[in-house]
Subunit: 102 residues, 2 copies
């Protein structure tokens, strides 16, 4: 059982629209930074900083593959967060309307 403080810290990570959208995107597939930047139509440093927070909070994993860094969800052992993320709306349309960054 987690403490209220731990839970509110995790919820704070999800309470930002950009970060919550990133989580919704990663629900479909892993993505590199430039993918997310393109889909969310914002700047690269903005996304990088949000990804850092999500990673520090243990909500996502990062994995470098040559010049790209791929991010993916990390919600094992996170019961209530997984339930929550599972109920985010589909981002399929947003993902498909974009060509990919390379």
């Amino acid at each position: 059982m987690q403490s209220i403080e731990e839970m509110s810290d995790e919820l704070k990570l999800l309470s930002d629209k950009t970060r919550l959208t990133i989580m919704a995107l990663l629900r479909h597939q892993e993505m590199c930074v430039c993918d997310i930047v393109e889909i969310l139509e914002t700047t690269q440093p903005n996304i990088s900083q949000h990804l850092k927070k999500l990673r520090m909070g243990g909500l996502i994993n990062e994995e470098r593959r040559s010049q790209w860094i791929y991010y993916s969800l990390n919600l094992h052992d996170k019961g209530y967060l997984k339930q929550l993320i599972d109920q985010l709306p589909s981002m399929e349309e947003n993902i498909n309307s974009v060509k990919g960054c390379t």
Copy 2:
């Protein structure tokens, strides 16, 4: 299905430790402002303002009974939020260690 923006707004309400604790308290029973003030050991205006946000966000109900105003959870038709609140730690000990405000 709710939009990501609606969901992040609701999560923002829960991402503050004080407000999340209030929700955890109300999970056990309805309470008036002075109860919550006493349990959380903070000031009355602080709690009043947090309660206002939760009420504006539709997460709690208020009901006046003579000079007291009682607050209670309002999570019907809020699937994922209900699941979340249900998993908050018990506040029984905190509630019992306090005498009541009148």
